[in-house]
Symmetry: C2
Subunit: 335 residues, 2 copies
DNA sequence: CACGATCGTTACATCGATGTAATTGGAGCG
DNA sequence: CGCTCCAATTACATCGATGTAACGATCGTG
């Protein structure tokens, strides 16, 4: 049987509460007593039972992270930073995936209500999905990404501005006819897609270019496969544009693949740009021009907001915008 | 204040235990009583406190997953499947990362001992790291990957056989001088690297080819960046071999990038092969020939073994070998 | 030398759910 | 109509850690 405070207390010849005092270190304990207790702990290999502690003080030390799809390189990098930052601060992270069925986000919140997690980081992709955040009984919560809900803390990259900047960058390189990969459509109404498209349109308008729906390619999912399929289908019908601005690096990789298969050279014939700056993007052939942001900082800010929210539910709602930057690589050159 | 069984009991005018009986459904409860309780639960919005339940019956319903590095596309795909399969069976998954400091694996086991998780899936990269599995007080545990420990359940892909098969495949395509990317070295003594190298050597031996250390490139980490650096450095000194067999797809992507930068065409000048069959591999330019295995099946087997281990600590130790297959794509062609 | 102040330690109750053993209510039988 | 017997429900204790409040030892001081 695993030892408990009681056993340690018996071995150290003190009361259970004294053991607790030694462990938590808030109340002062005489050095020799502390010594005895610590020796007893070591001798018995005592480890506190966090379920019991969680029951007693209502905190588990675990936070939940709900991402739409964990299988993408982008998710991997974000997860990595969340786990790292959380670990450094002594938090555990429990993962959940919400894409296949949005109802799962509520499941995760239920878990939180079940007191398995103290707070939740939620990455909704649609407004409807984020509606669960309105539940008054929801646990401490922050949302990451583009979807906005009044009354919920949010950490995001300004997608409108970023898409605008990337479009302006491509325009600055002399491209006029700039195709988009990753528009909403087919029942896929990502808020992110909507905002990035808006930024793109704004930049076009500023340059006096009328948008052309035919070169705004929709993808059912934001995967390289769907992007490649969309681009391949497009190339079968139309001439390639001057450049493709893909709403994620993953789709940019799929686009590169489709162009390569069609015998179209990048960047000589067509420029390609992405979004997210995933690690593999700089090892694509050619390396991807993309929108970059500090993912570690993003995770830090998110956790900081969540911790603040957990300690004060009535603190004013915040919205943190993580700065972005255009990273210019070989996939997009001057025309 | 959140409602408890007591509150529900008071509302339904029954005892707390009856509420518990309704919820757990093991003891028979008269239909009308059950009805009253269920109405009370709905009315109050009662959700059981899992910390309390965990304390009472010693199970939390959460398992821990410790991977070396969560930021890679490979980890992302594996994590995805683990979370999916676990979710389907009602388990939560808590993540941990062990690469930066192997001691963290023990930290995770401590968490388990703290009863925050009921069992652990551990992916060690070195024998030393796996030694923690020998701790007699360790929680139910399964190891995934190449590192083997007597007395611990293991789920793996036979890396020796797979590397042998891939090498034989390349030999069959007419390649004689086959370079390796991802050997151990620089304090990086991955067990996986050792086994894959062994499989490679065996295949060479069968073909009567003497190994050549100069074309066995070491990488400090298994990232595209280090692989690209290693290949670039190599190309500065030597002629390219007939083919590069990279020990992961990520390194293969880095290799493609380095070759592209050096103006060497793939597959015309050099063939390239990887290992893992990550999603982005088929959208590399050119698409990667690689070693593939069913990751979903891998996750299912792992969870099944862990669940078995949790329910019977003294069951015989098992070792599951997940089948692999060579997937031939455009990056490797007949010479 | 006795008495209060102070600091460390203890006993007890508590967090919420659930197993165990005792109890209640009702049906069925004589 | 009363007694037995069984099923449904209840009271109580328990899981392990910790907050509260009461207790006891030690010290300083009058």
């Amino acid at each position: 049987m695993r030892p408990t405070v009681k056993d340690v207390a018996a071995t150290a010849r003190v009361s259970p509460k004294t053991v607790s005092n030694v462990i938590n270190g808030i109340v002062f304990v005489r050095p020799d007593t502390r010594d005895r207790v610590e020796r007893a702990i070591a001798e018995l290999g005592y480890v506190p039972n966090l379920s019991a502690r969680g029951l007693r003080n209502g905190r588990t030390g675990v936070i939940g992270l709900a991402m739409p799809d964990l299988s993408t390189p982008y998710s991997a990098e974000m997860s990595h930073h969340f786990v790292e930052v959380a670990h450094e601060q002594g938090w555990g992270i429990q993962f959940a995936e919400t894409l296949r069925e949005p109802a799962r986000a509520s499941t995760l919140l239920a878990r939180a209500r079940q007191r398995l997690v103290d707070g939740v980081i939620l990455n909704p992709t649609t407004l409807e999905e984020s509606a669960i955040a309105l539940d008054p009984t929801r646990p401490p919560l922050v949302m990451i990404g583009e979807v906005q809900q009044r009354a919920v803390d949010q950490i995001w990259v300004d997608s409108v501005a970023a898409a605008h900047d990337m479009t302006a960058h491509l325009l600055g390189l002399g491209h006029r006819r700039i195709g988009i990969v990753g528009c909403a459509g087919d029942g896929f109404n990502s808020e992110t897609a909507r905002l990035r498209l808006a930024g793109y349109h704004r930049a076009l308008a500023e340059a006096g270019i009328a948008p052309d729906r035919r070169i705004e390619l929709a993808c059912a999912t934001w995967t390289p496969g769907d992007a490649a399929a969309a681009v391949t289908a497009f190339l079968a019908e139309c001439d390639p544009p001057d450049a493709f601005f893909c709403f994620t690096d993953s789709m940019a990789i799929g686009t590169l693949s489709a162009l390569w298969a069609a015998g179209i050279r990048v960047p000589d014939d067509v420029s390609v740009a992405g979004f997210d700056d995933i690690a593999d993007g700089q090892f694509a052939t050619p390396p991807l021009t993309t929108v970059s942001f500090d993912k570690r900082y993003f995770a830090e800010q998110t956790l900081a907001r969540l911790v603040a929210r957990m300690s004060d539910a009535s603190a004013p709602v915040t919205r943190v915008t993580v700065p972005h930057a255009i990273v210019s690589r070989a996939s997009a050159i001057r025309r």
